[in-house]
């Protein structure tokens, strides 16, 4: 750990109001799993507000799914509520994050609030139209997850606000798929992608196409969705859609991969996600 990361205070509030009040103080930071904070904790951190005591580790069915923000990824992976598609795409993303033991510690709320472009959970959740419930000093508000991210490591959370819950609405009858490409099996995504779609009267409808790690925030490509909706599934359609999706990306070149490679892989992963999601919508596993 970096010796400069030296918060003076540790709090473990037992109610949300206290949590928000503590977070409104200068230099206060939320800690849930801690897998990012204990690695990248900024020197400006003065206090840690541990929100694991607020009873936010759960996944339950209630007008769709409700997932508490401090739920660990391994907890999600054990839930019978995620056994079938399209919900299952959340488990697929959860299962690709980090390594097995890390998933006991990392939380879905942390993965979202970290707001790194390569995060796996947001891509799958946005494909299911997830929203987040935010608790703050002036109460609670609900925001679509798609609108939660402003930029790399920047969200719309204001002073004293923290993530309370992820709400996944009741889904249409649909198939979904999550795809990720890394350098080895345990890796952050060079590119990740998710697709959800329904088939109505033989035509694709209500599709969602989301890409990660190729834009400052998770990227939902509505132009690609428009290309698919109302059409019959063909190889050519999928190829065209995949290109529209990759054309919308703004990947960077870094030591992990070049922008050109990321763009190329975006179209491959979107293509594969659409094909798999379509198969699942038809009823195959």
């Amino acid at each position: 750990m970096d010796a400069h990361f030296k918060p003076e205070h540790y709090h473990r509030p037992v109610d949300m109001k206290t949590a928000s009040a503590l977070l409104a103080q200068r230099g206060a930071r939320v800690i849930a799993g801690g897998t990012d904070l204990l690695v990248n904790g900024p020197a400006s951190t003065e206090s840690l507000v541990d929100i694991n005591g607020l009873g936010l580790s759960y996944i339950r069915e209630d007008d769709g799914l409700r997932i508490g923000s401090t739920t660990s990824f391994s907890y999600l992976l054990r839930s019978p509520l995620l056994e079938r598609y399209p919900y299952r795409v959340i488990a697929d993303a959860a299962g690709e994050l980090g390594h097995h033991n890390l998933r006991h510690v990392a939380t879905v709320g942390g993965n979202i609030c970290n707001a790194v472009p390569s995060a796996d959970a947001p891509v799958a959740l946005i494909a299911l139209d997830a929203a987040v419930i935010i608790h703050g000093p002036s109460g609670e508000r609900t925001v679509p997850l798609d609108g939660f991210f402003k930029f790399v490591r920047e969200t719309i959370l204001g002073e004293g606000e923290f993530l309370k819950e992820i709400a996944v609405p009741v889904q249409p009858e649909s198939g979904a798929c999550f795809q990720k490409l890394g350098r080895t099996k345990v890796d952050i995504a060079l590119v990740n992608a998710a697709c959800r779609l329904s088939i109505i009267d033989g035509l694709i409808s209500d599709s969602r196409i989301v890409l990660g790690a190729v834009y400052p925030t998770p990227l939902r490509v509505r132009a690609a969705e428009d290309m698919l909706n109302g059409k019959e599934f063909t190889v050519e359609l999928v190829a065209k859609t995949a290109i529209i999706a990759s054309d919308a990306t703004k990947p960077i070149s870094d030591h992990r991969a070049s922008a050109e490679y990321r763009r190329e892989i975006s179209s491959v992963l979107v293509k594969r996600a659409i094909i798999k999601a379509y198969g699942r919508a038809e009823g195959s596993p």
């Binding site: 400069h4 345990v186 992990r256 490679y261 491959v268």
Partner: protein
């Protein structure tokens, strides 16, 4: 040579000594040690790739509560003399030559205080132009990494320039029906042992220094400290603890130990220094990045007529790695017959992390080039690459051009044939390129000989000491770095002595008490020190038999030993235990019961190990991802002293080789020289689920010259893994990738363009 009697301990796989301590958490590594009053050290490191230091003011650091001492070049500019070549490095210096270079050290009551104190040290840097690219570093106007050595041993940044030729390559090329030219690049990779470096230094008031450190050598470090600090060697005690968490060439003598010793002296207390994982990646020596430009000629029947190589080896900022350059030519002469071979090499300084020894030395990168080329040549002349290798290989009795020595034993052909059978060589694509499909499969191979030693001779020492009860202490100067040296030496001792394995206890790598030893490296420990162990054990056996013959009233020639007994050959029931011999009043009173014997041994001639590896891969042609389905490694180990341990070395070598092939590279920013991925998130080690199916085949031709016919195993399979995979990709897709690692991005580019 007398025939070996039936071996009962060598060739078996007993429980490894000390493993129970490892699996229960009792094992004390250097970093687990505590000494009374111990302080903690941290190193201030340069943010610049090249700079002069005009002054360091650490008064603010010293004023912090808990800070005890700070040292700079003013305290520690002592010359470090490495075991290879001449030195250009100091304990601490007033010039820095890479991002991360050592600047100053702090000792404080806690590690946290020491780290915070680094921010209170003011350094007056005069930033200089720097050079990162090794080819640009060779140009006449390039910034110079070691200006103080110009005209002494380097010309600009070129430290080593060697030309080695056997025969006449120009004449050879005239006979070629087919000539191929290629350019290969192999990257900077790291040892990445799980245990980061850790060392502890303590002085007493008589001026004696004791150091504990996780290393592959005790004596070479002690000697370099004694030379630098101008102390008698007897006043430095260097101890490698019984547990070292992996070395692979990276835990070695270094200038940093001089700095730590000086810091501990100034602080007046023991000082523990451990590296962070980040420091482990970019401030310890790495494998040199290499460029190999090859020109190779063959006849249409597939016989080598000329092999030429121009090598540029990036030795980084300090000179230890220069030997990578001067040794490179050797590997061209070890495996295949060719009358005309020429190597032109350059060892070049750059302002990057210093490079040094890593498993396989230069044989690892150069075999990538040499073995990749063979498959391309074979494809071009429409010949099976296995047939090509069988046709051209050196055989027993052939003279190795490098040292004029005849090949004493060789399992190479057996490794090729058994390995080919195990992978199903007949299943490969007859011509490179599987049928069109998203996934393409292919099979490739590579062979190798890691040279290990050239013409220089080095020695092994062993001391064997008896206790009155017939148990023994074996004292060796080498360190066990996790590969099981302790048990293997005990096996050799017990076998040669006729003793009981569990009753032989070893002390290793303590310069105060063990005889001089070199390093546990270069796959030489079993051969050299094992040879000394066998010799001293046989001496002890003869001594015991001599004493027993008096007790038993028999001639020495009528007696032998086994399982801790001396027994009569004609009547095995007539025996005495070693302890009885030593307890006998006639013996006891003469003081004979404590027998201390020593042997020094040098292997009579070079003993070449060989191996062949076969890989089956599946390439995803849409993404470039390469999945290794199966890896077969057939290795000529001479004889496996401890077969399970040998398997473990070969399996571990494959892991390192696969990483080198597919995923590992320490990336340096080409502009700033800063490391980009000094952590496990971005320096990709293979994990359990990444590994392919492995098959290990051990081939034992039993060399006539070495102890029990053994050959060095430690560096074997890391070498041929990458070229076998590359050749499998070539077989699967026809794509040639000239640079490592074979990441999905590099492979996809090669699939599109035909090569990368």
């Amino acid at each position: 040579m007398l025939p070996e009697k039936e071996l009962t301990i060598v060739g078996t796989s007993p429980e490894m000594k000390l493993t129970r301590n490892k699996v229960t958490g009792r094992a004390e590594f250097t970093v687990d040690m505590r000494r009374p009053g111990m302080l903690y050290a941290k190193m201030l490191r340069s943010p610049h790739a090249s700079a002069n230091i005009n002054g360091i003011d650490y008064s603010r650091a010293l004023a912090l509560s808990g800070v005890v001492a700070v040292i700079t070049y003013e305290d520690a500019k002592y010359l470090y003399k490495p075991s290879h070549g001449s030195s250009r490095e100091y304990g601490l210096d007033d010039m820095v030559r890479y991002v991360g270079d050592k600047v100053a050290m702090v000792a404080a009551e806690t590690e946290e205080i020491a780290e915070l104190a680094l921010g209170y040290i003011d350094v007056d840097y005069e930033v200089l132009p720097h050079i990162v690219d090794m080819e640009e570093a060779m140009e006449p106007d390039a910034p110079v990494v070691h200006p103080e050595r110009q005209g002494i041993d380097c010309d600009g940044n070129i430290l080593d320039h060697n030309i080695q030729e056997w025969g006449d390559v120009e004449e050879g090329f005239k006979k070629a029906d087919f000539i191929i030219e290629n350019r290969f690049y192999t990257p900077r990779v790291c040892h990445a042992a799980l245990e980061p470096h850790a060392m502890l230094a303590e002085w007493d008031l008589d001026g004696n220094l004791t150091m504990w450190s996780s290393e592959q050598t005790a004596f070479m470090i002690r000697d370099s400290l004694a030379d630098a600090l101008k102390m008698p060697r007897s006043k430095i005690r260097f101890i490698v603890p019984d547990y070292v968490g992996g070395g692979f060439g990276g835990k070695y003598e270094s200038a940093e130990k001089i700095a730590l010793a000086i810091l501990a002296r100034k602080a007046g207390k023991p000082v523990m220094w451990r590296l962070t994982r980040e420091e482990e990646f970019y401030t310890t020596r790495t494998r040199s990045p290499c460029i190999f430009e090859s020109r190779t000629g063959v006849t249409k029947d597939g016989v080598f007529v000329a092999r030429q190589m121009r090598g540029i080896i990036d030795i980084g900022s300090y000179a230890w790695g220069a030997i990578m350059s001067s040794r490179a030519a050797s590997y061209m002469t070890m495996l295949y017959k060719c009358a005309n071979i020429k190597y032109t090499g350059y060892g070049v300084y750059t302002n990057t992390p210093p490079s040094g020894a890593m498993r396989g030395f230069t044989s690892t990168p150069i075999h990538y080039a040499m073995e990749a080329e063979i498959d391309e040549i074979a494809a071009a002349i429409d010949m099976d690459p296995l047939e090509f290798r069988l046709k051209n290989k050196l055989n027993v009795g052939d003279i190795i051009p490098l040292n004029g020595v005849a090949v004493s034993s060789s399992g190479l052909e057996e490794t090729m044939l058994k390995g080919a059978s195990a992978i199903g060589w007949h299943r490969r694509n007859a011509k490179p390129g599987a049928p069109d499909a998203r996934y393409k499969r292919g099979i490739g191979m590579a062979s190798y000989c890691p040279m290990l030693k050239g013409t220089e001779r080095s020695i092994g020492n062993a001391v064997l000491k008896s206790n009155v009860d017939g148990s023994f202490h074996l004292l060796l100067g080498l360190a066990d770095i996790g590969q099981g040296l302790r048990t293997i030496m005990a096996q050799i001792c017990a076998e040669a002595l006729g003793g009981i394995l569990d009753e032989i206890n070893l002390t290793l790598a303590d310069t105060q008490t063990t005889p001089w030893g070199t390093t546990t490296a270069a796959s030489r420990s079993t051969i050299e020190t094992g040879g000394a162990v066998k010799d001293v054990a046989e001496k002890m056996k003869r001594r015991l038999i001599e004493l027993a013959s008096v007790m038993m009233g028999l001639h020495e020639g009528d007696l032998d030993t086994k399982e801790g007994l001396v027994y009569e050959l004609a009547n095995p029931g007539n025996s005495v235990r070693f302890g009885e011999i030593l307890h006998h009043p006639d013996v006891y009173l003469r003081g004979d019961n404590v027998i201390v014997l020593k042997s020094t041994y040098s292997v009579p001639q070079f003993v070449p190990p060989y191996g062949s590896q076969f890989a089956e891969v599946e390439v995803d042609t849409e993404t470039g991802e390469v999945r290794v389905i199966k890896m077969v490694a057939a290795s000529d180990v001479g004889r496996a002293i401890h077969p399970k341990s040998v398997e473990g070395q070969l399996e571990g070598g494959i892991h390192m080789g696969i990483g080198f092939a597919l995923a590992e590279e320490l990336k340096i920013d080409p502009v700033t020289g800063a490391p980009l991925n000094p952590n496990f998130l971005d320096y990709k080690l293979f994990r359990a689920g990444d590994m392919p199916e492995l098959k290990i085949i051990i081939v034992e031709p039993v060399d006539p010259y070495s102890v029990y016919g053994v050959k060095g195993v430690g560096e074997m399979t890391v070498i041929a893994t990458a070229p076998a995979i590359r050749n499998a990709i070539f077989n699967a897709t026809g794509a040639k990738v000239f640079r490592l690692p074979l990441t999905s991005e590099n492979v996809l580019a090669a699939l599109k363009e035909g090569h990368v």
